[in-house]
Symmetry: C2
Amino acid sequence: MLMIPGPTPVPEKVLLAMAQRPIGHRSGDFSKIIAEINDRLKWLHQTKNEVLSLNVSGTGAMEAGIINFLSPGDRVLVGVNGKFGDRWAQIAETFGLDTIRISAEWGDPLDTEEFRTHLEGDTNKEIKAVIITHSETSTGVLNDLETINKYIKAHGTALSIVDAVTSLGAYDLPIDDLGLDVVASGSQKGYMIPPGLGFICVSDKAWEAYKTCKFPRFYMDLGKYKKANLKASSPFTPPVNLMYGLQAALQMMEREGLESIFSRHQRLTSATRAGVQALGLKLFAADDCASTAVTAVEPAPIGAEDIRKIMSSKYNIALAGGQDHFKGKIFRIGHLGFVSDRDILAGIACLEATLIELGHDIKPQAGVKAAAAVLA
Amino acid sequence: MLMIPGPTPVPEKVLLAMAQRPIGHRSGDFSKIIAEINDRLKWLHQTKNEVLSLNVSGTGAMEAGIINFLSPGDRVLVGVNGKFGDRWAQIAETFGLDTIRISAEWGDPLDTEEFRTHLEGDTNKEIKAVIITHSETSTGVLNDLETINKYIKAHGTALSIVDAVTSLGAYDLPIDDLGLDVVASGSQKGYMIPPGLGFICVSDKAWEAYKTCKFPRFYMDLGKYKKANLKASSPFTPPVNLMYGLQAALQMMEREGLESIFSRHQRLTSATRAGVQALGLKLFAADDCASTAVTAVEPAPIGAEDIRKIMSSKYNIALAGGQDHFKGKIFRIGHLGFVSDRDILAGIACLEATLIELGHDIKPQAGVKAAAAVLA
């Protein structure tokens, strides 16, 4: 049982769709599948923009989102309050962008005021893009994208480049209403399919910037993907069987409806947090910046790895560990994608049993009771 | 029934392996799968070099093979006698390499003497790499890699960068014996799994060149993949379910054995060519440069698209069409990967029936008889 923030659980319907024999990716039949997927991706992204599907991981999608719309030496602001923000700053630096890191402690949200100050002070319009991790998977923090986006809009020139890898499909992200320029995500998250596909949603403003972009690129040249998208095709061989899975998953999502998906994730998040707290464990992110995809827990003095080991060996539940300097200090519970109330109650019940086994003195049924109260 | 040069038919065992639920890609269990895959990839590549698995298509693998070992302005020779050679030249040009195209007509093999002349004349050792498409999928031509490689070795400095996308697993390519530096391939070909994974085998000499490479890269930074490989891990989230399929496919290949795989492909190629010729159709590539992955046929005055349409609608056999300026002029029969004698006889029998339907005057059973004679 996967309770990590990706890969997330995959519905049987999707697994069986993926087990079909591949057909030719240049056939009329496959073109119909691409057309259907493209339509549904727009629905999921709440946008009229083209949503491009690339055969890459989420990191590949973010890299493509950065190198297609900027040029060497361009100034960018990068929000860094976890492993993924740090990775996007590394990409920006690797490609020779003039990278200003707006940092916050891991577990804290980004300070929106710092973005305001930088953007308002940039009267020469030298800031070409603001790169933001919406839901920081390494810490379970949801950054205040709406507020930062307001300052980007007021600036007028800078593009917004958003890592929505663990927020898309888990949190209401109305891309056109917000006017976001580049939004990247990955298949093994809210999409409920295995890893292997990255998605990038691109605004008209970003396509304007694309025209003057100076980075050489071929496989990651998004212009090629846009051109192909408009013909319900792909520039390079797409991962046919993953696309079968994506088609099935998007159909399931449409049947559930966006509102239901978002409220389910909110409910699962609240229940998880209530359960964890009732067990006497400390939540790593505050309530007002809690990701709806993943909840990080700081169980000290109990060892995070001790908890993960028992959860895995005894209950066959995979929890994620901490990353980088939080290895061993936190564990993370994924509640993203194909996750139900039952899964959360099962997870909290097993966590409770694990804590008892580790000698932690807790009120019997405290966690399950608190989580169930939220779900009721 | 797929008779195109990729995606190729996928065995049921592989499809079912892929339908398993994903597990965490950072778990010990998945690490064991990666370790097994890495060992078997070395076996398949006949090498002690690390073979890196990337979540990209074959084009992505070739791009990574080029941009990790060269720098802007470096001189490269690129063999161009079909769509894929042309694509690698485009990549080289896109990234600002000083690109010398060694061209031949589509359907002809590359002239090895041209490579000799350029390499022997390069006394200042300005040529940093020679980029060769081994089996040119667009035309069914197998280029004489062995001879060109001899001239590269005599040059001493230039790296060999080889597109083995439709030769690896279909033709004996002893990478260490030949001393090839960079060899790229893709999953949906000889590997018998769906598209989604690219592979790159890298020599020590190429890793030396890597150290001074000046192209910025992050997702495609092969150093990151090598480091992860040595720990049976991956730098970014790998396509877990495709890896399940790869594990199953490599196990099947080891059971068959390299010699049997190569001789089967040779037998299927000879049977296909004999059948096509007995039907009075013209083979696009000569016998001495025939790819063991794909056979291109020039059926004029009969229309290639007319043949493909009937083969598809009446017999549910997908043949590939011609690409670029050979669209409508040739069709291509794939016999790569999970293909048996029965498949070839079925294909030739249906081709025969198709030609009769199109009013072509052929001796009954001529094609099947000729193909069967080869297989016997």
